[in-house]
Amino acid sequence: MKRFNIKIWQLLLTIALLAIWIYSYIANTDITNSVVASGMRFGMPLALAAMVGIMCERSGVINIGIEGTMLLSGFTGFYIASWSKNIVVGLLVAILTGVLTSFVHAMMTIQWKMDQIIAGTIINILASGLTSFLYKEGSTIPNSWPIFDIPLLGRLPFIGHAFFTQQGPIQYLGLLLIPAIWVMMYKTRWGLRTRAVGENPGSADTAGVSVIKVRMINVMIGGAIGGLVGGFICLELVGSFSKEFTAGSGFTALALMIFGRWNPMGAFAAAILFGLAQALSTQLQIFGVTNIPNQFITMLPYVFTIVVLAVSAGKVRPPAAAGRSYEKEQA
């Protein structure tokens, strides 16, 4: 399985790069750069949100509450940044909120053994209820994160422009974080244990590894990443909080996770491809190349998500224990 996975994400990444490259030949460079940059901006939050799903599901917990986690942490991050006039504090609070939200999720799914889909739904509904009630118009953040180029890497051919220019710090952090999660998952002791717990918790338990602990910690790391995404969107990409700003992207992230076969690099490649497709269609729209009504452009990511799943979902194998709570005494 694992070896196969790597092939898939390499393939996807190649396709994405190839697409960028061809595009940069046929269109003019300025437009190319801005499309690629906006593709990265569309893709990165989704890629990071998919990491939340991966952290949870690799350890055997399905998390459909990513949406709510991002919403809540974007909310607290933004208002705390606005109140403290400090976006760093805002980001930290966003991450903390993500951790707390996922703690509630972890309690419901791991400790109380609730149905995991319903637990995630509750997180989403709670987040939506809390943020819409506490929402206040007219707040602003003092500044947003600077946009800059990475000195040397930015000048690499093709990928330099795509990955290392015209972005903010959290975007670049994502580029570090995702491979780091991959390394963690496949090279470290913790990763080995996490995957074992997600595939057959009994094997981990009988080897003296605490299933509950591994799951709790992974879900909360996932929550921290979810919080980061919330802060990323509200403090770096958009610079404000709007009600229901997640608009289903937590679910799209899950689809990308499935498409990328629960592999961090696979999901990353899928998300970048997705972001580019979206950037491209937006660009075409702006330049009036097409006169498709904008509702249909808005629709594209959702259609794409369904298509992606229809193509891949039946063929991939999720972590075998995902969705099931662990009963120790049946080991």
Partner: protein, 349 residues
């Protein structure tokens, strides 16, 4: 599904109290009086005749959308995006309702409702088809279809179906022959909803089809072993769930809105989730929850100008009720053994 009235019925009540308590803290934190807010809720929702009428009318709609979710849950399907089916049903109903002239009410109204149900069924059934044949989990597909339907419906309302003489985006008025009459001032929709609940209850209790769906929902392998087609049941479950959602959209248009603006329908599908989960996917047991939530929803707008609190307080209170009622927190405290409800876990098809 059956549960002992004594302890198990305490869970929802205790959940509501806990939610109100936390809500009170948050309201107070915003500098308002929680008592004032809750008073408005009760007075507006449940005291006056007009209030009761509005509550029951809203409750009828919510019973129906709760039934849509319930129907799916019983077959092990979580139709989390019923909202998209409500919208498509509502717009289809509205179109037939304003476009087809010259029919008597006893043909026009049922026909338009049927078309509404059909469109809801198409959207839900498509998700069921994707699950049965391609292994696409309905939680993701219906959420995506939600957004897709929202865009389609928005496009149609702004273009082909738009009433051009009005500055704001809306469809023409639904003809009187497709409006739901009140019987002695009593909201007819509520009666229809209760009948529908009884019918759905009967399907799962007495009919072989209901037994097949129930079996698929409880143990797919055993269902297949027993000769029940799991794929067919998945499609059928989503189809009927979608049909009920589409019907709900039609009924709401026929009884309350009178024309179509997408925003009118917001929240109907999602409240259905809360109601179905509170009633533990029992078609009859969802009724009290629907009436309670109907009351809160119909008092919602009054809260804003009478108590000065954001109407979104209702969303928050409902979310808290759902949390307390579903998480085994309170159930453990009062030692209820009511089994928590499960959907089909996992991503498998």
């Amino acid at each position: 599904m059956k549960f002992k009235i004594s302890r198990d019925a305490l869970v929802p009540v205790a959940s509501v109290l806990a939610a109100l308590a936390i809500g009170a803290i948050l309201i107070a934190a915003q500098g308002h009086s929680p008592l004032e807010v809750y008073k408005v809720l009760i007075v507006k929702g449940f005291q006056s005749t007009a209030g009761l009428q509005a509550t029951l009318s809203k409750a009828g709609i919510l019973i129906m959308s709760g039934l849509a979710i319930t129907f799916g849950l019983r077959a092990g399907l979580f139709n989390i995006g019923a909202q998209g089916q409500v919208l498509s049903g509502a717009l289809a109903f509205t179109y037939i309702g304003y476009r087809v002239h010259g029919l008597p009410i006893w043909i026009h109204l049922p026909f338009a409702l049927l078309v509404g149900a059909l469109f809801g069924a198409l959207v839900g059934g498509f998700a069921g088809y994707l699950k049965a044949t391609r292994g696409v989990h309905e939680v993701i597909s219906t959420i995506m279809l939600n957004s897709i339907m929202a865009a389609v419906v928005d496009y149609l309302t702004q273009n082909q179906f738009r009433l051009k003489s009005q500055p704001n985006t809306r469809t023409p008025d639904i003809l009187h022959s497709a409006r739901l009459p009140h019987i002695f001032g009593f909201p007819t929709g509520f009666i229809v909803a209760v009948i529908l609940a009884v019918v759905v209850g009967w399907i799962f209790r007495k009919s072989t089809v209901g037994f097949e769906l129930d079996t698929v929902g409880k143990n797919r392998n055993a269902a297949w072993y027993a000769g029940i087609s799991v794929k067919k049941s998945i499609v059928l479950g989503m189809l009927i769930s979608g049909a009920i959602a589409g019907f709900t959209g039609g009924m709401f248009s026929a009884e309350t809105t009178g024309y179509f603006v997408p925003a009118f329908y917001s929240g109907i599908g999602f409240d259905g989730i809360t109601i179905a989960l509170l009633g533990r996917a029992n078609p009859i047991a969802i009724i009290p929850g629907a009436i309670f939530i109907g009351g809160m929803r119909s008092a919602q707008s009054a809260i804003q100008f009478q108590a000065g609190v954001s109407p979104d307080i209702i969303n928050l209170l409902l979310a808290l009720v759902l949390f307390f009622a579903t998480a085994p927190l309170i159930a453990k405290m009062i030692k209820s053994n009511a089994k928590s409800i499960t959907t089909t876990s996992g991503w498998g098809s």
